[in-house]
């Protein structure tokens, strides 16, 4: 049985992470940004899983569970923030939420 090399997973992970990063930096819609962050988190999860499999260790898998838990908490808090911003600003554009500065 041929094994898919780790590098394949890592390249995929990097591509997904890059896409997520580009989304965070360039998109204005707060929901899109939010989804991009999820994409980056899961790209990292993929890398963890790939390393865990390659080294035959459980540590990576444990990290993945942590990340999923954090992502769930983040989704709960983050979506609440998104709703509040939307109510206050009548818009999903992050550039409208710019009061927190010098």
């Amino acid at each position: 049985m041929s094994v898919i090399p780790v590098s394949y997973y890592l390249v995929l992970s990097a591509v997904l992470f890059g896409l997520g990063m580009v989304g965070v930096v360039f998109k204005r819609n707060i929901i899109t940004i939010f989804m991009s962050i999820e994409l980056m988190l899961n790209a990292v999860n993929l890398a963890f899983v790939a390393f865990a499999r390659a080294h035959n260790q459980l540590d990576g898998l444990v990290f993945v569970f942590f990340v999923i838990v954090v992502a769930a908490a983040e989704a709960a808090v983050g979506l609440a923030i998104v709703i509040m911003i939307t109510q206050n600003r009548q818009s999903l554009n992050v550039e409208r939420a710019n009061l927190l500065k010098f």
């Binding site: 965070v24 930096v25 992050v94 550039e95 939420a97 710019n98 009061l99 927190l100 500065k101 010098f102």
Partner: protein, 667 residues
């Protein structure tokens, strides 16, 4: 042996008085304040009397008696004890200081009765007595220096006693700063003395000096330097040329202060110090010449300024400067005992003159200008008679105290082992001038017609607390000089005989040991075998007496016989008159030479360039760098979440690149 074993008691009493009045006395009644002040000083005087009784029982090898209380400073080989010493010179100084202080305290109780800050005044005055006694009793240069600085502090506090008066404050500062110049040299002198002798104890120093003399002259240079440095300290403290300028201004203080500090005691500290250090000075002939020259010049110079002063206290101030010059002249020609003798008689008659001047000012309701006085002798007879006696004493009229002491000094300057005819002549002319300005003061103040408005000024004699000290001092101004009376008959002067051990113990050679001090009388009686009567006639018709009488007659002629003449004379000699009237413009010259450049440098270099430019520049500069950086950096915090995200990404990428680069370097 009560007091000898506990010498500190003499000093502690005035300190206790100062502490009680100064710390607690603010709301005490005046009678309590002055009882504490007068009581503490008089007790101190009684202790001195007891000390003399005990001292008389000591054998010669027990003198000087040292009381060593505790080790004050130890650092390596540097060791200073808090030690006090008593010898004949100390006894004389203790007597003069505690006695005159007691009288001035009693006088002040009356004089200051209507002034505010009564407790403060007496506290300072007691503190002064404490420091003066420290100065006199100290057994090493450092303890003496503590007293030396302490009296300077009290002088400053008391000159500026009326601290709401601008001129009094400036006079206080002037006195303090001017004497500080001398004290700087004095400190260097102390350090050099320690470096040379390895000890600051007087006895240890004198012993090593005595051993030095047998060696080469290699030590002469350092001894001369020490002596001159210490003498510069004395110049500041005792108001000699060129640092005398503070003393006339010090008259801004209350008159009892002028009498005690600026006539009788503190200003004579320099004379005492030189006399105390006589073994060092005796081996430094150049320093001795400097002392004598400065003394004689000051004696003459200050007397000329005194001629035209119109403020009654200023005349006395210049007179004090001049008389201190005589003391230094005496010390400088090796007649230490004569210098100290003049110090003592001067304390009596000059203290008396100031107290009388205070009484006159009191009677005139604060007027100090003699041009606005006149004809006071009927209204204030006690003040008049006592002041007249003091004037006879200072002028050197035979029979009065000043005659004996001044005659001895001029005798030593004119015919002693270190005679110097030029200095003698200066001193002699100065004596004539002294007589003239003092009688001018008497005639202007007490004779002639009244030059003030009766209806405004209610002339009245002072209360008995003021007149009794006057009479006591007047008594001493007459009889205080008679210790030296046998000198006139070619015999031994009791005063010199008493002090002889102090000045002979470490005298440089056997020849002079017999008496730098005694030589005047010894030489005269040895060479010319005159009878006592001839000596007496010689002394009381000598040049000093002649010039004194001439001064008296001239003053009488100018201010009583032809009172319109002085103004005409002033008119005909306009330029010299103006120069002397303005005190040779010395204050103005010092101002232009020292004060103005100092102010200029302080203002335009230190303030505007160094302080404002450099210091402020660094501080403000660093602040504006921080501000500029901040204002650039704060633009990063735009509030735009996407730009933050971009920075995070940039940072992460940068970090990753760095990591990879470092890994690359390692492989």
């Amino acid at each position: 042996m009560l007091i000898l074993d506990h010498l500190w008691i003499i000093m502690a009493l005035p300190l206790l008085g100062a502490a009680l009045n100064g710390l607690l006395g603010k709301n005490w009644p005046k009678s309590l304040i002055n009882s504490i002040a007068i009581g503490s000083v008089s007790l101190s005087f009684l202790c001195v009397l007891e000390l003399i009784r005990e001292f008389a029982q000591l054998s010669a090898d027990q003198i000087p008696w040292i009381g060593n209380y505790f080790t004050w400073i130890t650092a390596g080989s540097f060791r200073v004890d808090f030690a006090l010493q008593v010898d004949q010179l100390t006894i004389v100084m203790l007597l003069v200081v505690t006695f005159v202080s007691s009288l001035v305290h009693i006088y002040s109780a009356g004089y200051m009765a209507h002034e505010g800050g009564y407790y403060r005044f007496f506290s300072y005055l007691n503190l002064f007595v404490f420091f003066m006694l420290t100065l006199v009793l100290g057994a090493n240069l450092l303890v003496m220096f503590v007293g030396w600085e302490g009296v300077g502090l009290c002088s400053y506090l008391l000159i500026g006693f009326w601290f709401l008066k601008q001129s009094a404050i400036s006079a206080g500062k002037k006195a303090f700063i001017t004497t500080r110049l001398g004290d700087y040299a004095f400190t260097v002198g102390i350090l050099l003395a320690f470096w040379t002798f390895g000890s600051l104890n007087f006895q240890d120093m004198f012993k090593s000096v005595a051993q030095m003399s047998s060696e080469t002259m290699a030590h002469a240079g350092v001894l001369t330097t020490i002596a001159i440095l210490l003498f510069i300290g004395a110049i500041g403290k005792s108001a000699q040329i060129p640092l005398y300028v503070w003393l006339p201004d010090a008259m801004e203080g209350p008159t009892p202060v002028s009498a005690l500090i600026h006539a009788a005691t503190m200003v004579t500290a320099g004379v005492y110090m030189v006399a105390r250090m006589n073994p060092v000075f005796s081996r430094a002939p150049i320093a001795m010449l400097v002392v004598a020259t400065v003394g004689a010049l000051t004696a003459f110079y200050a007397a000329t300024i005194g001629l035209l002063q119109t403020d009654i206290k200023k005349v006395l101030a210049y007179s004090t400067v001049s008389q201190l010059g005589y003391m230094f002249l005496g010390l400088g020609v090796g007649a230490y005992a004569a210098g100290i003798f003049h110090l003592m008689t001067h304390a009596f008659f000059k203290g008396l003159l100031f107290l009388c001047a205070g009484s006159v000012i009191h009677a005139m309701g604060g007027e100090q200008d003699m041009r606005n006085m006149g004809g006071l002798r009927k209204q204030i007879p006690i003040t008049y008679w006592t002041m007249f006696i003091a004037t006879l004493a200072i002028a050197g009229i035979p029979g009065f105290a000043g005659f004996f002491s001044k005659d001895e000094i001029l005798d030593a300057a004119g015919s002693g082992p270190h005679k110097n005819i030029l200095l003698w002549a200066l001193g002699l002319i100065g004596a004539g001038l002294t007589s003239f300005y003092m009688f001018r003061l008497i005639f202007l103040t007490f004779f002639g017609h009244e030059r003030f408005d009766h209806h405004k000024v209610h002339v009245h004699e002072s209360p008995s607390s003021m007149t009794v000290p006057l009479m006591v001092l007047a008594f001493l101004s007459i009889f205080g000089g008679w210790f030296a009376a046998p000198h006139l008959l070619g015999g031994t002067d009791y005063f010199e005989k008493f002090l002889h051990p102090v000045f002979a113990a470490y005298a440089p050679t056997a020849g002079i040991e017999q008496g730098a001090s005694l030589a005047g009388s010894a030489g005269a009686s040895g060479e010319i075998a005159q009878s006592g009567a001839m000596e007496l006639i010689h002394a009381i018709t000598g040049p000093p007496v002649i010039v004194a009488v001439l001064g008296l007659l001239l003053a009488w002629w100018l201010y009583i016989k032809k009172p319109e003449l002085p103004a005409k004379l002033a008119e005909s000699m306009r330029t010299p008159y103006k120069i002397i009237y303005n005190k040779y413009y010395v204050d103005e010259i010092y101002n232009a030479l020292f004060v103005a450049p100092l102010l200029f440098i302080s203002r335009y270099v230190l303030w505007h360039v160094i302080d404002e430019g450099l210091i402020d520049g660094i501080v403000n500069g660093s602040a504006s760098v921080a501000r500029a950086t901040g204002s650039r950096l704060r633009e990063l915090q735009s509030g735009n979440a996407r730009s933050y995200a971009s920075w995070v990404v940039l940072g992460a990428v940068g970090f990753a690149v760095l990591l990879l680069a470092m890994l690359g370097v390692r492989h």
